[in-house]
Structure formats: C-alpha cells, structure tokens
Symmetry: C3
Subunit: 495 residues, 3 copies
C-alpha cells in the first residue's frame, strides 16, 4: 500500500465524508429552501392581500368619507336633520261623522246639549248621541331661526253640519276658528321669562281642558287677543297672562229699532302650582248695560270669573289613571263660567258656581272606566231672581275584546231645575240615556286612542214636564217627547 | 513518506474538504439568510400593512357601523323609512278653472248638464263647455300602528263658482264634502274579512266610476254612513256592504205651510266577480210619501236600484285600451239611477233604466279616441204617466303633436224626448256640439294625464223647441237660443 | 504504523472534520430554522390578519356598496333627492289677527281704506290701524316630469272678518281666491319661449307688487284667465301676455227692474327692460254701457290702462336698500288704475293718473326707514265732470333694540279733495295718524321679516268736514268723528 494507494481511499473517504456531509447539509438546505420558498410565496400572497385589503378599505373610506366634498356621514346627518325636523308644515284634525237615526228610520235630535239645560252648559253624555258631521282641519307651520327662536303659526278651519248629504254649500258653517302666531325660545327673554312664549291672534287658549265624554270644556277661554305663557314667578309658580276680546254684535237696545255692538275684553291670570291651577279673570264690555234683555233687568257690563282646579296623576289616589277636578265661580259677565265672556245677556247680578270632575282608570286588565260629574247653580242669570240648577252624572265603560275591538257603554243622568228666565216656562225633571256601542279601532288600549268607528244603540228618556220648557229646544218637538231609541254609526278621529 | 507526512496532506485534504464543504454550506447559508432577512423585512412590512388595512377597515367599519351608537346603515334605513313612508299627510286635488266666452264677448251658459235633459242626468260632452271654477282640496292622513293596522283619514273641501272675480265670498259654495275614517289590515280580521276594510263618516263611495268626458259617474253612491269593503265571499267573489244616509230637507207637505224633513237610507251590496260587477241597493225614506209633489202623484218612500257592469281590460276586445259598460235600473226612490237616493221628488211608481258605455284606445301611435254613450228612459218619474228619454253620443279624439302639445276634438250629440212632468212644457229635439281644443300638458301620453291647459272654440246648436222647455234652464235665456260659438281657456288638474 | 493504523486516525479526523462541519452547519441550520419557524408563524399571523382585514373591508364594502342590490351611497342619494325635492305639497300663508280698541274700550273702525278716499284706493298707513282677522292659506303642489317639464298647482283659501269671536260661521267670508296651473321648462318650448311659462285658471298675477305699509298693490291684476310669462323678445326685453276676465254681476240697467251681467276682459302686455317695466292693457266689457249709474252719465264699456315702473336696487341711489316708483294712467274702465278691470261703474270718459313710490334703507345700523307716497287725480270718474284728488305720505321707522324686539313708528298724512260724484257731499280735508308699536319678532333684521307680534297705540285725527262726506264710510259714525286714540295687539305672518 503506497501512499497513493493509501491516499486514494482516504481521499475517497474524505470525499465520501465530504459528500456525506454535503449531502446532509444539502438535504437540510433544500428543506429550508423549500420552506423559504413556500414562505416567500405566502408572504407575497399576504402582501397582495394586505394591499388589496388596504385598497378596499381606502376605497370604502373614500366612498363613505368624501363623495364629492361631503362625507356620507355628513350627508346622512343633513338628511336626518331634515327628516326629523319639527319645522315646516304639520296637519292636525278633529272630526266626527255619522248617522243618528230614530226607530222611525229618520234623523233624531241629539247632541250633548240636547236637554233644556244644554243652553246653560248642562251637557249630557255624547256616546250614541251625536247627529252631526263636525270637522276641524289644523294647518300648522313651525319656523326655527338661526338665533334659536321658534315661531309657530296655527290656522284652523272648522265646519259642523247635520245634513247627511255630501254637497253642503247651503248648510255650510265652514269658518276659520284659529289664526295666531306664537313665539318661543326667544333669546332676549331671560330670567322669569326664560321659558315664556308669547302669542297674538285668534285662538283657543292652550290651557283649556275638557270632560271628553260630555264634549264640554271645564273652561273655554278663546277669542282674539294676545298673551304670554309660562312666566316663572317663583320656583313652583308658573303663570299665563292674556287679554281676549269677544264680539257682542247687533244686540237690541232700549231705544227701539237701534241695535248696538260692543266687545267683551277678558284679562286673565292663569296660575299653576304643581298639580294646582288657579285662574282668575276680569271682564269688561263697555255699554253692554244698554242692551235690552227684555225683562226689566240690567245687563252686565263687567264681570269676574275664577277657577280652582286640580290635575291628578292617578285615579283619585285609588289606582293608576288620572283625574281632574275644578270649581268655577263667576259674577256678572263672568257668570257664563265655561265660555268666559261668551254671553252678553247675563244680568249685572248674575252669579254661577260650577263643579266639574272626571277620572279614568282600568278596573281590570281589559276594563276601563271613566266617571264624570258636572253641576251648576246660577242665580239672577237672565233676569233678576231667576235660578237654574242642573247636575249631570256620566260614566263611560269600555271592555277591550280584541286588538281592534271593544264594547263601550255609557250611562248618563241629568237632573235639572230651571227657572223660566227670559224664555218661557220653568221646568224640573231628569234625563237619562244608556248607550251600547260596539267599537272598532286600529289598536285598543285607552280612552284617548282614536280613531274609532262605532255602531251604537241608545235609549233615552226624560220627564214629560221638560217637553214644555222651551220651543227652541228639541224636547217636545214632533216625535221627540221621551222613551227614544236611536241607532247609528259614527267615526271619530283626532291627531 | 512517513505517516505524519502522509497525514499532513490528508489533514490538509480533509481540511480543504472540510473548508470546501463549510464554504459550500456557508455560501448556501448566506443566500438563505439573505432570503430570510428579505422575507423578514417583507413580513414585517406585510404585517404593518395588514395592521394598517385592519385599522382602516375597523375605522371605516366604525364610521359606518357606529357613529354614536347607531350604524350608518341603520341610520340610513331609518331615514329611508321616513322618506318612503306612506304615513302622515298627503294632499290631493281636482280642479278646473277658466273662461267660457260667447261671440258677444260675455260669459255664456255651459256645463255638461246645460241641456233640458241635464237635470235628468243627461250630460253632454264637457270639452270647451265648462263655465266654472271648481276645486276639490283633499287633506288625507294615514297612520300605521304597531300591530299592523292602518287608519286613513280623508277630508275634502270643495267649491264651485261661475264668477271670474278673485274674491268670491258672496258667491262661495265652499263646503266640506268628505270626512271619514277607514281602517284596513286589522289583525283581528281573518277569514273572509282578511282583506276587508271598514269605514264610517261622510264620503263618496270608493267604487264609483265615471265617464270622464261627460263629467258624470255611472253610479254616484255617497252621503254619510258606514260600510265594509272587500269581503271575500268566495274565491272569485268580493263584496262591499254599506249604509248611506242622505237628507231630504224642508220639503212641502200637503198640510199647507208645514214643511217636513226625512232621511233616505240606502243599503247596498256591491259584488265583484272578476271583471263583472253587480250592485244592488234598497232605499227607504220614512214619511217621504207625505211630500207634496204638486201634481197629485204620491212621492216614493222606498225604492230599489241595481247595476250590472263590466270593466274591460281592452278596447272592447278590439285593441289595447279599456272599456266600461253598465246597465242600471231603478224603481221608486231608486229611479234616480246615478245619484242613488239623491232625489226625493220621484213618484212611488217611477222607473228608470240607463245604459252607459265608454272605451279608450290608440287608433294610431299619436291618435287617441274615446267614444261614449249614455242613455236613459224613465217613466212615472215626476208625475204618474210621464216619460223622459234621452241619449248622448260623445267622442273625444286627441292627436299628440309634441312632447307638450296635442290637439283635442270632441263631438257630442244628444237626443231627448221629455215629458213636461212637474215643470212646464214637453219637448223633443236634439243638441250637438263640436269643440277644437289645442292643449298643453307637461307630458302627453294618454287620456288620464293631467294637468292640461287648453284653449278652445266650440260650436253648439239645438232644436228651437228645446228653448221653451223650462224657464229654469239655460236654453232660451237671453242670447242663448242656438247656433252658439264659444271660446275660452281652461286648466284642469288632478292628483 | 500500518495503513490501518494510519487510516484510523484519518478516518477519525475525517469523522471529526465531518462532525465539526456538520456541527457547524447544524448550528447555523437551527438558527435559520428558528428564524424560519418564527417567520412562518408571523406569516401565518399576517395572512390571517390580511384575511381578516380583507374580510372586514369586504364586509364594510358590502354594507356601504350593496345591501340588497343598492349601495349606501345610492340609497343616500335617493333619500337626499327626496328630502331636497321641491316637488309635492307646500304650504304658504299670509295672516294678520288682533284687536283694535278705542279709548271707550270698544272696537274702533280702521283699515288702510278707512278715510273717505279709501274707496278710491286712497290708502293710509296700516300700522296700528287694522281691525280684522285676515288669513290666506296657500296649498301648492309641484310635479316634475320625466321630460323635465314642471307643473305647479296653486290653490288659495282666504277669509277676512272683523269679529273677535272664534266661531264665525255667520260672518265668514271664506272663499277660494286662487286656483290655477302653471307649466314651465316645457321641452317643446324653444327660442324666445325657452324660459317661458304658461298658466290658466284663477289667480293674482305673478308680477303684482305693493306698498306694504299702506296695504295696497301698485297694480293688482287678477281674475280668471290665461297667459304666458317671460317671453324673451330681445336680449334685454322680456314680456308677459295675459287675458284676465272679471265678472260684473247684477248691475241695474235703465230698464227698471232688470239687472244685467257682463264680463270685463283685460288683455295685457307686461314688458321688462332691465329695471324698467312697461305694462299696457286694453279692457272691454260688452254692454256695460247699458248699466244705469244713476247720474245720467254713460258707463264705460271699454278702457285702457298703462303703467311705467322702475324697480330700484338701492334707496333712490343714496344708500343700500331698494325703491320702487311707478306712474299709472287709465281711461274708461281702465280708470280704476289699481285693480285693473275691477270697477264697472266708471264713466266712458273717466280718467285717472296715479303715482306711487316707496323705498327702504337703514339710516343707521339699527334704524330702518321706509317712506312712501301714493297720489291720484281722477276726473269724470263716477259722473261726468266730477274730480277726485288725494295724496298719502307715509313713513315707517323701526329701531331694532334686541335680537327679538324693535320699536316701530309710523306717521301717515293724507290730503283729499273729493267731488260728490254719485254718493253724497263733496269734501276736502286731511287725515293724520301716528302710531307707536313695540314689536316682537323671532329675529329682527329688516322690513320683510315676519312673523311679528306687536302692541300699539295710535292717534288719528281729521278735518271735521270729512265726517259728512258719506254715510257709507266710518268717518262720522257714532264715536268716530276725529281725535281718536286706539290701542291694540296684532300678529302678522307670511311665508
């Protein structure tokens, strides 16, 4: 074995070893390379993906953030503001329309003021007792100014007819009952006037409230004038002040053949202390004492009126619901205690005291009840020495039977003891009415939910003596002397 | 060569081999490292990019998905719902207003009911024949409830005057023609009532339909009452049921100097079977037979009315378009076959049969035609033994010339043979009118497209005998005795 | 040392070398592997991140780009179009309502036409001088068609009463003053008619303009008819052409006990050249010369009327503001130079010339002033040989005190020299009125800003001779003979 001989296998061994080692390294290497290559491919893909995702995000960002020069968000906010705005036009309505038919298949007299006490404000229950189509269309318009001030314009058309025909041009009573402007949130109003609003024009006062089931306000303050609402006189004392004019037109005077006109001006302070309300009004109608009321008494040319009311958050403290109770007293021109200033024929000594009260609650899950009382005594009203007393008790009951249907019931009783005053005979007696009214509504659930479509049957009766009281009222007219059945259908809506 | 000698080159060889191999590994290694480092950099960049993309996506997500607590999508959906809502107020109108001037440059009598047959419902073509400003303003309000129910309130003011002055307080006929509430989609209505809707109040019936070119309904059912629409009595049978009241006021009775009132009550079933309609009504007006119709005949206190109609989807099967055909028959109070219950002066034996028909189609691409026929025979109508016959043939032709302009033509012919009945002389004769009316409209394209502004010239003529028929109609009044040219302008709109 | 001996260490060396090299490679290898593994993990994370980012971007993209088949952007654009649309219903109004009370606490006569010159158009300042509730409700409806054409429907209800009561059915003057349709942007109108619009119906002309503080138009063109606006006759010449009808009803004729009717037709060209306006009208009322005007003169059956006016962009070139000046002249029926065609009692020789002028400007930052003059001379007006002259000077001054309050002042002076004409005595004299009116408004800042709520005190006086002029006007009626104080409140709004 020479060295070369020796070297050869050695070199071979080294070569083998080298080869082996290089093979080893190369195997590991190619695995790494493979992994690297895989990774590179994945990174390239991930890069592309990230780039695409970024591009997409950027594109979406651009489309939401700025199409043109306004972002989607800003554009949407502008549209939302428009859509949610309380500015501009708003439509409101009250309406009732239907048939009131007697058992002779002819129209029958009706209305909450159907009894002899009606002209004195002695309303009875209205359910199944209304013969008219009465509608109010309210066109309102609100403007909000850069300085934050708000102006509300309110206009109301009203019409009431008893004909069932569609074209009623001859019978139309269509007229404009409200036209006024009210300003609120005036920046220059501060202190006690911070939350105050002012108004002028022709209107129903904002704070009138009613006994719905007898269709009568507790107090109806309305006419043409101006006023201010919500003056904060103390922490728990807010007050309204207003001047309302009403017109007394073409009344007879003692100088024969001369009629005269005057205006009643009513200045009112309406105070609110928590649930309590105290309203006080002074009335003046210059020269109204020259009116000839045809019985020797002197007509009033001034008057006073006051009301204390409580607005309850529960059903007389007994259960959930609400109630309202008020006592009103008036003298002279104030002795028309509901429509303040509405009657110019009262004597200078006239006095009237009225109490009103109602409440609503659920007796049981599907049974609602609403009892109400309204009563008045007035003296020296239309002539010195006269006296008129009446009291109405009314209860509306409703039983919600399905999502869209309820049975309504109403019982009303009125007692009256009426002096003859300026018009005819005295009379004493009582009136009762009972009504059943299957009623459809889009969604049942309370006394204030309208619209309603009702079918009804009513039975009413009264003392015969009441038929002779006045030739001007319905009682005693042909076929309407007592023991009356009436039937009908009616819709009622407000919004 | 000793072993050391031998070993040295071997070791060197091994070292070389080692070195070579290590060199080889190291070269491969550094390449890998480079690639790894590159990759690491790329991964870091990709990571950052992915992070940025994610951040951007998240930011956009947040801006679209939640600004405040509501996503853009949700906010937009809410605004869309408001914008697309059919709830709330909607305004509708019908109006026509213009001048109708004779060749003496003064107003000329006109109207589709201008002929002696007019009071009997014998209308003639209206184009170039209308002297009035008549407008209906419809104030509608829709409410949709949580339970899915829908309430629609509809109120319509209407006025019609013939004066051209702007201030028309003295001539005003403004009145409230519609006030009603309709409920649909009531959840508690199921089975045959699933698609039914109910209504109450004062309205025109939903399913009245008219011959527009003579301004007359086939049947006009309207008044105050209540009803139900779309009761599904069988697969192909839908029916409406309604009770409509109308008032007969202050009519003379045989007891001299006493007038009386009553109500007509119409109970109607209106049935639809595919294209066919069958309407049947019973009428009752208690004590209307006490009315003095001043000719010895007895006034009807009841009646019956029926109509069979076909609503065609083509122009009489001949071409595209539509047609409607109907025959009506009535007895007693039903003998006023159009305005059901609208005439309380009919005798108890009165009968009337009317046929009506019209169609519309395109004769050629720009030429539309609408022929119409209306004819009636009635007997014992206003007095026993009387007989009234009339027939009107009318054709409206229109040639669309530009996007905004078309020529309209109308020819109308009416034959009438009228007994004297309660009012004056008998008469027989015919009336013809031909009108050319260049007409502007925002977009031409059909008979029902309004508004239109038209200029027109009409020539009308009639038999002289018709001038003496009645002192109450226009025929025979000063300067209106035949061979009349009239000219005018008029706008008409509905929406 | 044998070869095996030799070989062993060599192999060992080779093995060592191999091992060493392999160890070296393996150390490098494991570092690389570690880095690779780290990288793989990072890539996986980055991939996931990119995927998530992409998914998020895609999701946002989808939510903004296509929920359903519409993108947020497209949906928003659709809602924006709806929200910003000028199509559909729009409500407009003018209204004033308040009290005007004398120092006897009763309503006092008033109105801008209160003086004897009033019936001739001789208005005086209105501030603190208006006794009525007057309201206009405008129901407008705009439709835009696929071809670009626009149709505007306009309807206006108006009512004016002086009673202060809310229910005014008996006094109601509610009527429909405007009912018309106007088309604009008609694609088939080109050339001179490119910007023209056409209208027909009952309306106030678009281009009437007024002296607000005296409540009088310069020219009031109105009635029922048709016309075209904005015909471009030359580069600086635009013109309107119209035909307006007005009705003369039930006037006496010389044949006793027969009344007659006719129509006045007014054809007008109203030309605009920059700030200048030239209006020219021809009037015709067939047979109006048969009217008995009860003084031997012959009534006009035709007339002519013209006006040249300048609409200034500054306060008479002196300061910022505006002014308008016009001179009108009319003959025959055109001698009622304001209400064109509005008076059928004018003689055939009647002539009248009127000048009117007003301007508004700021005197100082918070002081606005608006002087106005209106004067007329007419001859042979109501009878041959008569002559009526009057001139009114009026200035309204306002001092803006807070954001919501300003003091307004008005002084008015009218001189009149009136022939007896058809009605009673001649009279010459003057009338003055001065008014202070503290005024609330949502935002002060100009004469045209409404609504306003004002309180006011006015003092008016006039020559005693004016009291005897006519029994039909207020002057000389009980308690209204001069030196009058009046007080009141009023709201006024327009939009």
């Amino acid at each position: 074995m020479n060295a070369a001989m020796l070297r050869t296998p050695l070199v071979a061994a080294v070569a083998v070893a080298s080869f082996t080692m290089s093979g080893l390294a190369s195997a590991q290497q190619s695995d790494l390379e493979q992994r690297l290559a895989d990774l590179e491919a994945r990174v390239a893909a991930a890069e592309q993906r990230a780039q695409q995702a970024e591009a997409r995000a950027a594109s979406v960002e651009q489309s939401t953030a700025a199409s043109g020069d306004e972002s989607l968000e800003a554009r949407l906010a502008r549209v939302e503001e428009k859509a949610d705005s309380d500015e501009g036009f708003a439509f409101g309505a009250y309406a009732r329309s239907g048939l009131l038919i007697g058992d002779d298949h002819k129209s029958i007299p009706g209305g909450p003021g159907v009894t002899p006490a009606g002209p004195l404000g002695g309303n009875v229950g209205r359910l199944g007792n209304e013969p008219d189509t009465y509608a109010e269309a309210k066109l309102n318009y609100r403007q909000r100014y850069d300085n934050g001030a708000v102006a509300d314009y309110r206009m109301m058309f009203a019409d009431g007819v008893t004909t069932s025909n569609d074209w009623t041009a001859d019978e139309s009573n269509l007229n404009v009952r409200n036209v006024y402007v009210e300003f609120s949130e005036l920046p220059s109003f501060t202190g006690a006037f911070e939350d105050a609003s002012i108004w002028a024009g022709k209107r129903f006062d904002r704070d009138n409230f009613d006994i719905h089931w007898m269709d009568t306000d507790f107090v109806f303050l309305g006419g043409t004038g101006a006023g201010i609402y919500d003056v904060q006189l103390a922490d728990s004392w807010k007050a309204n002040f207003s001047l309302y004019g009403r017109s007394y037109s073409d009344f007879p005077t003692e100088e024969s053949e001369i009629t005269d006109d005057t205006d009643n001006l009513t200045l009112t302070a309406n105070n609110f202390f928590g649930n309590w309300q105290w309203m006080v009004s002074g009335l003046s109608a210059a020269d109204n004492d020259e009116r000839d009321i045809e019985n020797g008494s002197t007509a009033a040319d001034s008057g006073a009126h006051t009301m204390v009311a409580y607005h309850g958050d529960s059903f007389f403290g007994l259960s959930e619901g609400n109630f309202k109770a008020a006592v009103m007293h008036g003298q002279g021109l104030g002795a028309e205690v509901k429509v303040v200033g509405g009657n110019g024929s009262l004597t200078e000594d006239a006095t009237a005291t009225r109490v009103g009260l109602y409440g609503t609650t659920y007796l049981a899950p599907k049974w609602r009840i609403a009892p109400a009382i309204l009563a008045e005594v007035s003296e020296d009203r239309l002539a010195e020495g006269d006296k008129y007393s009446w009291a109405t008790f009314n209860t509306r009951l409703a039983n919600e039977l399905t999502a869209n249907f309820e049975m309504q019931y109403e019982a009303t009783y009125q007692y009256m003891d009426l002096d003859q005053g300026a018009s005819g005979n005295a009379a004493e007696g009582s009136y009762t009415k009972f009504t059943v009214a299957p009623t459809f509504k889009p969604q049942v659930g309370g006394f204030w939910k309208r619209p309603e479509i009702r079918v009804f049957a009513s039975y009413s009766d009264w003392d015969e003596e009441l038929n002779d009281y006045s030739a001007d009222d319905a009682f005693g007219s042909e076929g309407f002397t007592g023991s009356q059945w009436s039937f009908g259908v009616q819709s009622e809506i407000w919004f």
